[in-house]
Symmetry: C2
Subunit: 190 residues, 2 copies
């Protein structure tokens, strides 16, 4: 998505350690008009008529998930980050290792709000090694719902989490794929 | 807002301890169409032409904040919940006591994304004793921005946080005010 790539080139801060900071328009201050337009791009790739719910993760997925779901005319449910493993039987649960914070978190989602009749579009802001997305996939798997696809704003292609998921057969569509960071400048995949 | 009151009456679960659980349409699974329509109600009460940013708090404010901001044509910034008090000088900070979780949290917001030129609409899902909203007001005060108003989805009127804020001169507008909970049934303010 040209507009997102241009915005990243203009406003993202690239920090040592291949960190791409987009908190000016994506995950602290949110440019809601730009993010809502992501839905149009996802609708070009995925069959939007099949999708009946968007699944994302707190906190940085919520704004994107909500705006994309609104534009697709469906509800959104977000997995919460739980502190404890002892969470009762009424939740789907998936353990995820966060490399950003170097700790394990448990993603939880109430069984009440996702079931085998649903057709899911997973949405997230970033995909790097793919841990968070794999947690969401696991929640969807536990629910028995059909996974229609995975829509990502920014993929760090050089960490290969997205490519591995595609090799496994998942339909992962990222609006901007960064394949290289050199001298704090980003290079996008064609 | 009649539609929200009807939805609460139909789908909210009232639990002992005056807990109103709306995680089927507001803060776990989100009915994005309903929530986006909140913006039209807020635009009737507040002067939307003055507002240039929505400020809310993670996590349950983000979906509402993003959808209202999108419909008002402005960006949204959400305060994050920090674990530690030692957070550097580049953040606005406000300590908030959460009665729900019985602990103190620090709300933080990057100075980069809110300043004295901004005109702010604060948005949150719930207002009870008013602690969270007061934290957001404090962040706005530190930034020097002009606070144009405070828009709330559900106010627990019987906890009087909203009334105290109104007495202090804040323009607090809640789409549904629950004034009484009797036998696990809610009664709305006229």
């Amino acid at each position: 998505m040209k507009e997102l790539e241009e915005r990243i080139a203009k406003d993202a801060k690239v920090l040592p350690g291949d960190i791409v900071k987009v908190d000016g328009f994506l995950n602290h201050r949110v440019d809601c008009q730009l993010v809502a337009s992501f839905a149009d791009e996802f609708a070009k790739h995925f069959d939007a008529s099949k999708i009946d719910i968007v699944v994302t993760a707190e906190a940085s997925g919520i704004a994107i998930g909500a705006l994309v779901a609104y534009k697709l005319g469906v509800p959104m449910v977000f997995a919460k980050k739980a502190k404890s493993g002892n969470l009762g039987d009424e939740l789907y649960k998936a353990n995820v290792h966060s490399y950003t914070y170097n700790k394990d978190v448990t993603l939880v989602l109430s069984k009440q709000w996702l079931n085998s009749s649903n057709h899911v579009l997973i949405i997230d802001d970033f995909l790097a090694n793919g841990e968070a997305v794999r947690g969401l996939i696991e929640l969807v798997r536990q629910s028995g719902a059909t996974l229609e696809g995975i829509g990502i704003a920014i993929e760090k292609g050089f960490q290969h989490g997205g490519d591995k998921l595609r090799e496994e057969g998942y339909d992962v569509y990222s609006l901007a794929i960064i394949d290289e960071i050199n001298d704090l400048h980003v290079k996008f995949r064609d």
